[in-house]
């Protein structure tokens, strides 16, 4: 089939490179092959590239560049934040970790790994708003709590969490505060000082940078152990030869994000609203998941009654429209969303919801195409679900 137009509405999964980023990655790959740890000319040039990018990323989150530690991306940053903070604690010290129930798997599964090693872990429940209530954290945090980890913006529904309030509560009990800001950076202003956190994760490929590049911001004075040991890279905080081209690309992406944040948030927000309202109007039996007034501007998560998300996702892809459900296993099969489940949605709604996430290259034409195509696909799937019963899924999400 020849598709005249492909629509990519899955920016929360990953984003296409901005042209300037692509140029930087190509030029650095070609011209700056040196190892940034080398003393000679080639090393110095590569080091300069890293320093420049570090300033740019620091500026994006209002951080001192010396507190910016390069990683391979969001998952490593989350692992580093949690394991690095846990490992730095004295034996016999604090043994309790808290995260929200709607964190990314990078946090949740790191918690599970530490729980197997004897750490006590607690998940903060959320209600249907998809927003963590600071009072819930207040009830859970104790003098035994070492670290609290709550994402700044949720990847599936886009809700923005009250990080500053949560950080203050964590700090009252002497716990560290980490935020996974992977889905916030580049979409809304992120200011490490205003957030009051100790640790912040970000990932370049979520804001038009390359994959394989990320940052853990570590507030000066925070006790951490490296999780990757080896050479003295990143001031002995993270060993391994730096991925110079990707980090250079991240620096350029950071500058672009700084320049365009306000205008893009307004532009993409208007497109998202047009899409959301268009779908709610054109397709009966639809509703938005999560608190609509406190979301990143590019994301909407919509339930389609009597439709299996898996089928609608495929039907849309065959029309050239790329969207997502919340979580996908590496095989590409779909699991019920743990986020929607944590929000207390009934099982069928955890399996009939799609995420549309827009970004830099999204256009009104694309939005209108999706709104035009969806009613027909949904109608067709609903007509057929009469024959295949929709019953409770018995699979256990872990």
């Amino acid at each position: 089939m020849r598709l005249t137009m492909r629509v990519y509405f899955d920016y929360n999964a990953t984003t296409p490179l901005a042209p300037e980023v692509l140029e930087a990655v190509i030029a650095t790959t070609r011209d700056q092959f040196g190892n940034a740890s080398s003393v000679h000319h080639f090393g110095q040039r590569a080091k300069a590239v890293l320093d420049e990018a570090r300033s740019s990323v620091g500026a994006l989150i209002h951080a001192d560049p010396s507190e910016v530690v390069y990683t391979s991306g969001g998952t490593e940053s989350d692992n580093f934040a949690i394991r690095g903070a846990a490992d730095a604690l004295d034996p016999g010290g604090r043994r309790h970790l808290i995260a929200s129930a709607i964190e990314h798997e990078a946090v949740l599964n790191t918690f599970k790994a530490l729980a197997r090693r004897g750490w006590r872990t607690t998940l903060i429940p959320v209600d249907h708003s998809g927003i963590v209530d600071p009072d819930r954290l207040r009830e859970l945090v104790t003098k035994d709590t070492a670290l609290v980890s709550v994402m700044q913006a949720n990847n599936e529904i886009g809700t923005i969490q009250p990080i500053a309030e949560l950080a203050a509560i964590a700090h009252e009990q002497g716990a560290l505060m980490h935020t996974d800001a992977v889905q916030a950076v580049g979409k809304i202003p992120v200011d490490v000082r205003a957030l009051g956190v100790d640790l912040l994760s970000l990932s370049a490929h979520k804001f038009n940078g390359p994959k394989g590049a990320g940052v853990l911001w570590i507030k000066r004075g925070t006790r951490m152990q490296p999780i990757l040991t080896g050479g003295k890279h990143e001031r002995s905080r993270r060993a391994g030869t730096e991925n110079v081209p990707a980090l250079a690309g991240m620096g350029v992406a950071a500058r672009l994000a700084i320049d365009k944040l306000a205008s893009e948030a307004a532009r993409v927000g208007a497109l998202r609203d047009r899409l959301e309202e268009g779908i709610l109007r054109a397709v009966p039996g639809t509703s938005v998941n999560g608190e609509r007034s406190r979301r990143v501007p590019n994301t909407t998560n919509i339930s389609f009654d009597r439709v299996e998300a898996e089928s609608l996702l495929i039907a849309l892809d065959l029309e050239g429209i790329a969207v997502s459900t919340g979580s996908a296993c590496s095989s590409g099969t779909l699991e019920p969303s743990h986020v929607l489940r944590a929000m207390g949605l009934p099982t069928h709604r955890t399996q009939n919801s799609l995420r549309f996430s827009l970004g830099l290259f999204s256009t009104q034409e694309e939005v209108d195409r999706v709104v035009e195509v969806l009613p027909r696909l949904v109608q067709k799937l609903r007509a057929l679900t009469g024959t295949t019963k929709l019953t409770k899924n018995t699979k256990v999400f872990s």
Binding site: S311, D317, C329
Partner: protein
Amino acid sequence: MRIAVAMSGGVDSSVAAAVLAEQGHEVIGLSMQLYDVSGQSGRERTFGSCCTIDDLHDARRVAAAINIPHYILNLERQFDEQVVSNFVREYAAGRTPLPCARCNSDLKFATLLDRARGFGAETVATGHYARVVLDGRAGRYLLMRGADPAKDQSYFLFSLTQSQLARAVFPVGDRAKGAVREYARRHGLPVADKPDSHEICFVPDDDYAAFVSKRAPDSTLDGVVVDEGGRVLARHQGIHRFTVGQRKGLGLPSSPSGAPMYVLALSPADQQVVVGPKSALERTTLTASDVNWIVEEPGTTLSVTAQIRHRHPAAPATVRVIGDRQVALTFDAPQIAITPGQAVVFYEGDVVAGGGWIEA
């Protein structure tokens, strides 16, 4: 026309997809994830096993090689309900199930077909060695044996209804297995030399007894092995461990006569395994239920050749309708090991006239 191909990752369904794509159809590859391969549900977790099941991976590689979209559908729940539960129930009831046939009529040409239609594909193709032809005069879709007699799989498809056959496509059914492999090689499909699968896909190591014991521990009771006269010869650990015609693993002390003993029948009511000499395995009659007619249902009787196992050479017989979807069948000559739970499929030449599930 948009056609969905059920891609298992094997060479047959891979070639099926490639042939249709070559013919200019708009082909969608669909693979079914049918059982939990990750060990996530609290079971032992093997590192690296999550979602990397090799067959799904192969299907994806083939789809990429022939440039068609490919999706993995999670049908674990439906597979468990439609196929696995039945498999366990049948073994526990002293019958020998045929899950591949259930999977074809109750999953591939049911749930998967429904999904495919949702994606705008009105037909589903598989890699089965069988053929479907429209008999214009009778106004019926006829199911026929595959052209390669050594690979014919029509036995496993007997329970497809007319509406299912109308939407079934078997692109390799008119080819020989060798030609299918040759096609795969010529077109550079990465599975051209992959060995055929024989085991039942969801039973690890082919150990049915362990699988059934694990799934239905309460319905697998110990019992005794008796001869035709009711004399107790040994004890056993559940009738699900036996199948009619079985000779090995009966746990019998060597008989004075030295004549080998075979399982003749399984009795779920008293958990008895009845054994006897090979001659006692021979029978000429059977009854079958849930009969599906692919040709028009005969008024009273029909002369056919009938097959009671996948590898059984079809033997001349007469089918007599004895009730609603029930038949009695009489072979011209005695057959060895007529096994409840298996299918009996009736043929008129290469055409599948119908078939049913052997009751007794």
